[in-house]
């Protein structure tokens, strides 16, 4: 069955006819064309599809799109402003927190959720906040350094 899904996506109100069985990742990538959110494992294991739902990180591959009714969804596309990267994106760029880049958007969204709640996290807190995100390239050290570099800076 389809129903009208009305939500706040990256700060803009949207309404779309969405099937009950459509996953948030498919809604984002196929219906709205926001392909920044990546499909990694597609089964809840890797964190590549992390987006923010009412400010909390969730996995778009395990979330039914219609469950976002009247809620706030944020994807990586919402972070930059006027074509400029935000503090966390800039830090990943400068500190080499990204290599192939596949995990990067998930890392940044998980890191973003952390920095909003806790602007000056300890290394342990950063590791814990990113513990659901797998990276096959960097060895994680540069990713943690990137979040540390962004911490304490204005968004």
């Amino acid at each position: 069955m389809k129903r009208i899904l009305s939500l706040l996506l990256n700060g803009r109100r949207r309404e779309d006819a969405v099937a009950d069985d459509m996953l948030l990742i498919d809604y984002l990538r196929e219906l709205t064309g926001l392909t920044g959110t990546k499909r990694g494992c597609d089964g809840g294991e890797c964190g590549a599809c992390t987006v923010l739902l009412d400010g909390e990180p969730v996995l778009a591959c395990l979330t039914l799109a219609v469950r976002c009714e009247a809620r706030r969804v944020e994807t990586i596309e919402s972070l930059g402003e006027s074509g400029r990267m935000n503090r966390l994106q800039q830090a990943f760029h400068e500190k080499l927190g990204t290599q192939c880049g596949y995990c990067t958007q998930g890392m940044i969204m998980a890191g973003e959720a952390l920095l909003r709640r806790n602007p000056n996290p300890s290394e342990t807190e950063i590791r814990e906040a990113l513990s659901g995100n797998l990276c096959r390239c960097t060895g994680y050290v540069k990713i943690i350094e990137s979040v540390q570099a962004a911490a304490g800076k204005a968004p």
Partner: protein, 325 residues
């Protein structure tokens, strides 16, 4: 990964309405979906109707009554892990919650879903193609158990992290059914069958967990062993609640997960009351745990390792908590 099969999604606003819907054929409760949607995407579940419990407001609260607490089934694992009173007064519950999956799961995952999550097995939690090429198994669509081929019993392991912490603290669950509710000790929610591990009839579902005020002087902890430090189910998880003074046990309760088809409250720990915490007691405790767990070849990690680790974790926690000053 498989796309989801066609289902009807309903959003009841009350417990009574949800119970009516769940009494229908092929209906399934949907909470955070972090277990159910993943399993549906593996082709392990094909419900005709999903009954989304998230709109039922009365299931979403954490209510304290003195030092006891009622935790609604819709309370998320992230909320539980972050709640300052839970962290301060019921640390084992907060530790268990924090150890569940990853942050992206915990913000959606719920207490009810965690208590009811499906049992797991390395021959079961696989893609449709993987299972088909292996002739499926008893738990779903097949007629052989690859873990114990001579038997007709599924040994898939219960692997929820909250249950042992709650069991060690004498939790009760509130169960709704069409037109009424009942309350039962948490242990009675489970049965010894990996293919059907919950004592819930059609239309029944968990609405809340009640934890009584801990007995005076209770110290508690939960610890799990897993293949990697995050996003992983327990190979064995142990919760201990005890009171001790001057190195002597006053009472002791030990509960386990990951080792059997249901979470287990270790039987026989009453005998330890009055005994000194030392080598002899720990050795007896280790044996008690080893005798009651029955890890089978349901993970790639050897079952004997899981048996040993359950016993070692129990000993370690009793020592740490019992001798802490």
């Amino acid at each position: 990964m498989q796309v989801l099969t066609d289902f009807v999604l309903r959003h009841p606003a009350s417990i009574a309405e949800a119970a009516e819907l769940l009494a229908g054929p092929g209906a399934r409760a949907l909470a955070g979906g972090t277990d159910l949607i993943a399993n549906m995407r593996h082709g392990l579940e094909r419900p005709k109707m999903l009954v989304d419990l998230s709109a039922i407001a009365e299931m979403g609260a954490l209510r304290w009554a003195g030092a006891g607490v009622t935790i609604g089934a819709n309370v998320t694992i992230a909320c539980l892990a972050r709640d300052t009173r839970i962290i301060g007064e019921l640390p084992a519950v907060a530790q268990a919650a924090r150890s569940i999956a990853g942050p992206g799961h915990r913000s959606a995952a719920t207490v009810g879903g965690n208590l009811c999550l499906d049992t797991r097995c390395v021959y079961y939690n696989q893609s449709e193609a993987w299972r088909r090429s292996n002739g499926y198994c008893l738990k779903r669509m097949g007629d052989v158990c690859h873990v114990a081929p001579q038997g007709k019993h599924c040994h898939a392991a219960y692997s929820g992290d909250l249950a042992p912490a709650l069991l060690s603290l004498d939790a009760e669950v509130e169960i709704a059914m069409p037109r009424s509710t009942r309350r039962a000790p948490l242990a009675e929610l489970y049965r010894d069958d990996g293919a059907r591990h919950l004592n819930l009839e059609r239309g029944e579902f968990v609405t809340a967990v009640h934890l009584p005020a801990p007995l005076p002087g209770t110290r508690m902890a939960y610890r799990k062993s897993r293949a990697r430090g995050a996003i992983d189910f327990p190979l064995a998880g142990v919760a201990v609640a005890l009171a001790a003074s001057a190195g002597r046990i006053e009472f002791l309760r030990v509960a386990l997960t990951g080792t059997n088809t249901r979470p287990l409250l270790v039987d026989g720990t009453r005998e330890f009351s009055g005994q000194m915490i030392g080598g002899a007691l720990l050795e007896k405790l280790g044996k008690l745990v080893q005798n009651q767990v029955s890890p089978m070849r349901t993970t790639v990690t050897a079952s004997n390792y899981r048996r040993q680790v359950a016993s070692a974790l129990a000993q370690r926690l009793v020592k740490e908590l019992g001798l802490a000053t």
